[in-house]
Amino acid sequence: MAIIETKKLSKTFKQGSEIIKAVDNIDLKIGKGDFIVVVGPSGCGKSTFMQLLGGVDRPTSGEIIVDGLDIAKIREDRLTKLRQKTFGFIFQNYNLIPTLTALENVQAAIAKHSKNDSQKVISTLDQVGLDERVNHLPSRLSGGEQQRVAIARALINDPEIILADEPTGNLDSKTSEEILKILEGLSKNKKKTIILVTHSEQAIKIASRFLKMHDGKIVEE
């Protein structure tokens, strides 16, 4: 059974008088535990497609069915809750809150706060290989360390789906490899569904499915 299904999914933008089809009529089924890598040239619509899947953006037309629910039509507050519980987001620029420490950044994403927050965060950070420097501000961490914090933040609510938008785009090859290994582990060991937008060749190798996008359409699978 598909965890995500899109039906005639489209997203258009207006740029001056020109209408740009960022996502053009995509029908796709993503199964639970799939590790999907989406590739394609810059501006082909892969990031927009991923944001639609994660409920960050709303489509112009079509359906996005997550766990049997069309998230294109639900209210903003329900969508917010869904984002928090079902999805984990990883961004290219890490998007950490600069005034919060590594630990606090992960804490910021916790849906239900409890007394064990800190322990939970520390164990999640440990899971992604960051057992030290948890009380450092993002500015004092390396790119790889920051991305580990971002991954821990994406995992803190134990979501079923991880959406990663070029998570290795700003990292050197060694660090990229380490990050991809973490994602691979999540897929294999934790049975997380991972949708990864990337340019990385290495990523394609570890993926269970591979999608190539061009001009808003999936041109190859």
Binding site: D57, T80, N95, T99, L100, E104, Q107, A109
Partner: protein, 534 residues
């Protein structure tokens, strides 16, 4: 409480932003506190000067003052009264023997004629809440030595010649010839000094019956105006009605040193006069035939600077020979609205009297204090609005800049599941704390500003303009100058309400202006927030 942790992190780790926003708010808050406080100080200073009659518990003064301009139009009876109230006749010879020291005080009513004190008892009790009698007199004080009033002339002792007969003339000529001959025989020239003397001697010998000497006499004659070392000095005395507590020419509250009257034969001295004359509490002053004890030094307000010395009414009436007479009636009407009506009723009761109300006296006052106060009253509203708007704009702009810098942060928070409300709560709390910080800093700045301003002892001038109806009252005692100017020190008070208002400006400014930017940011769709940085 993660949101508190985040709040603390945001405020402390972005301390530059925290400081600049709260300082901006503090400035506005301090300006409001300073402006409102100064305006209040000006208003109260203005009130104390503009409504001086109220300061002596009065809103109407009744007097029989005749103005110099009306002198020609006075009826005969008033003219006689005016002259008798102001006549100075001095027979110094009655004060002692020539050469003796003397002091003499003459009490004059000036243009304020006296009237029977029992008239005061006829006031309409329904309109008049309280009244006090007063007697204000000008004193001409003379002291020096009693001069000799006579001059001595000594006459007589000259030798004169009588009218001669033909026979005597012949004898005279012969005597003259023989005398001349005798003088020449001595080898002297009869025209020389020595020759003339010898000639006189010879003449007495040859014509002994032809001349006689007048008897010596002494005449005494009165001389014109006396010119001696007598010093003359003028000052003003006021008789205070001790029967009244809250109304009178001077009240106990105006005594700055010593005490208010607690008996007769006492005097309270105007601070300015005391300083000029070196008079201290406990000194003795002689006025007329009485020795008075200085019990207090007073600082009367501008309009009440009527007198140099204040005495119990009875004492002054006795010294000045004006028993049971007064020339001022201070009236407090039952309520502020009935002042005009009370004035009219008093006019009927005292035909020809001058009725001066506090509003009329207020019109006579001008000077920098009045200009400043009028200016502030006129502009305080506009200035405050401008400052408040400026505070809102500053806080708003800083918040917008700060929120705009955090668009990705807000987008990320929304993407990871923060609702609009939680984002808004976070930003609202930040603005609230910034507002409180700004308020605290602003109150501190405002209080320091007031402290500094008070330290500089800002003094504003107040002038009492041309004398008019009631101004006779002032002018007569304040010299002949057209106006009287005095300084009023600006005392800026620390008013908790003003401080509260000033602080609220910072808090409300921050919450409202920052809130607007925050509200907008909280409603931003996460993809827009994330996209805006791509």
């Amino acid at each position: 409480m993660f949101y508190l942790k985040y709040l603390k992190a945001e405020l402390l780790r972005r301390w530059g932003k925290t400081l600049s926003i709260s300082l901006g708010l503090a400035m506005a808050s301090a300006i409001i506190i300073a402006i409102v406080s100064i305006s209040n100080a000006l208003s109260s200073a203005q009130k104390s000067v503009l409504y001086p009659l109220e300061n002596v518990g009065t809103d109407i003064i009744v007097s029989r003052s005749v103005s110099a301009e009306n002198m020609g139009q006075m009826d005969e009876a008033t003219r006689v009264e005016f002259q008798s109230e102001n006549r100075v006749t001095t027979d110094l010879s009655k004060l002692g023997n020539p050469g003796d020291d003397f002091t003499l005080d003459t009490f004059l009513s000036g243009t304020m004629l006296t009237f029977e004190k029992k008239v005061a008892e006829q006031v309409d009790k329904n309109l008049v809440k309280n009244y006090a009698q007063g007697l204000v007199l000008n004193v001409t004080h003379q002291e020096g030595k009693i001069p000799k009033v006579t001059a001595e002339f000594k006459t007589g002792g000259e030798t004169v010649q009588q009218q001669m007969t033909e026979e005597q003339r012949k004898q005279m000529r012969e005597a003259m010839d023989r005398a001349t001959e005798e003088v020449r025989a001595k080898g002297l020239d009869p025209r020389s000094e020595e020759g003339r003397k010898a000639l006189d001697e010879a003449l007495k010998k040859y014509a002994p019956n032809l001349s006689f000497t007048t008897p010596e006499r002494i005449y005494r004659q009165e001389v014109g105006p006396i010119s001696t070392d007598i010093k003359t000095e003028n000052f003003t005395v006021a008789g205070v009605d001790l029967g009244k507590k809250d109304i009178g020419l001077i009240l106990s509250g105006q005594v700055t040193q010593g005490n208010y009257f607690n008996g007769t034969d006492q005097v309270i001295v105007n601070a300015a006069y005391a300083e000029k004359k070196g008079i201290k509490v406990g000194d003795k002053l002689k006025l007329g035939n009485k020795e008075l004890q200085v019990v207090g030094i007073a600082e009367p307000k501008l309009y009440t600077t009527l007198a140099d010395l204040y005495l119990p009414l009875d004492t002054l009436q006795a010294i000045s020979g004006r028993t049971d007479r007064i020339n001022v009636l201070l009236v407090k009407s039952t309520d502020a609205k009935s002042v005009e009506e009370t004035g009219k009723s008093l006019e009927k009761l005292f035909p020809g009297a001058k009725i001066t109300s506090s509003t009329e006296t207020a019109k006579q006052v001008s000077g920098s204090l009045i200009s400043a106060a009028n200016l502030t009253n006129k502009f305080i509203g506009i200035t405050s609005i401008i400052v408040i708007l400026a505070a809102f704009i500053i806080a708003g702009l800083l918040s917008i800049i700060s929120v705009n810098k955090r668009i990705r942060e807000i987008g990320t928070l929304k993407a990871i599941g923060w609702s609009n409300l939680i984002v808004l709560r976070q930003l609202f709390l930040e603005n609230l704390v910034l507002g409180f910080l700004g308020a605290a800093l602003g109150i501190g700045l405002g209080v320091v500003t007031i402290f500094i301003l008070n330290k500089y002892n800002i003094s504003l001038s107040v002038s009492v303009g041309q004398q008019n109806i009631g101004q006779q009252f002032l002018r007569r005692f304040m010299g002949e100058s057209q106006g009287v100017t005095t300084g009023v020190e600006l005392k800026i008070a620390y008013d908790s309400l003003v401080v509260l208002i000033g602080g609220s400006v910072a808090i409300v400014g921050s919450v409202l202006a920052g809130g607007l930017a925050s509200f907008k940011a909280s409603r931003l769709k996460p993809q827009e927030a994330l996209r805006s940085l791509e």
